[in-house]
């Protein structure tokens, strides 16, 4: 049963445009994450928030910026997309910062033309 909801499912855009992705979890978890999954299925952590506070910011280009209004929501904005940003962006949550069991959304597939 889905408890991590991502919108949109797909997004096609052109180089240089700005895009935003939304994520909401209804599990009551404190910690949320953004992962990037490339065309070869490789997963890389981008950001992690614990109770609205940014706690992990991996080496990610500055055009990526996460935003969290409350602990149930975590959005991702890409200011000026590049072709290499084409990927599936997966949102996940965990009970708290010390928990290793992640619950994932279905992902947002971004295609940059």
């Amino acid at each position: 049963e889905t408890a991590v909801f991502q919108t949109p499912n797909y997004h096609v855009t052109q180089v240089g445009n700005e895009v935003s992705f939304n994520c909401k979890q209804t599990l009551g978890h404190d910690t949320m994450y953004w992962y990037k999954q490339d065309s070869k299925k490789l997963l890389k952590i981008m950001f992690s928030y614990n109770n609205k506070q940014l706690i992990v910011n991996e080496t990610v280009p500055r055009r990526f910026s996460p935003q969290s209004s409350d602990k149930a929501h975590l959005n991702l904005r890409i200011k000026s997309v590049e072709p290499e940003d084409s990927a599936v962006y997966l949102c996940a949550s965990s009970l708290d910062w010390g928990q290793n069991t992640l619950y994932f959304g279905a992902g947002t597939r971004l295609s940059v033309l």
């Binding site: 997963l43 952590i45 996940a92 928990q99 992640l102 992902g107």
Partner: protein
């Protein structure tokens, strides 16, 4: 530092056959180990996890995995696969409990399992 190696990018088995997906890990401390599955156009779902104790852990849908410290392995097994098991399977490792290392969940590259009729 920690890492995960899934040596088989693709595995094909016949329906009803047994399955083993391999996972080797590297960790400087006692690891926490996981198997996740990703069905087409879906996010990842946890199959099972190992923290300590019995090295054979049971998961959902008849899957189990065996932890071997001597071999640094955490292979996934199933006695009889079904066509619906076709998916990408990810092995993952994180550091042992140290009060906040969850973000160091490192995933392998995944193994695409195809179950043929």
């Amino acid at each position: 530092a920690q890492s995960v190696t899934q040596p088989d990018a693709r595995v094909t088995v016949s329906e009803g056959a047994s399955l083993q997906l391999r996972c080797k890990y590297s960790s400087s401390v006692t690891p926490y180990l996981f198997w996740y599955v990703q069905y087409p156009r879906q996010g990842l779902q946890l199959l099972l996890k190992y923290y300590s104790g019995d090295p054979v852990v049971q998961g959902v849908n008849g899957f189990e995995a065996e932890f071997s410290k001597s071999n640094s392995s955490f292979h996934l097994r199933k006695a009889s696969v079904h066509w619906s098991d076709s998916a990408v399977y990810f092995c993952a490792v994180s550091r042992g409990w140290s009060g906040g290392s969850n973000y160091k969940l490192t995933f392998g590259k995944g193994t695409l399992l195809t179950v043929t009729p």
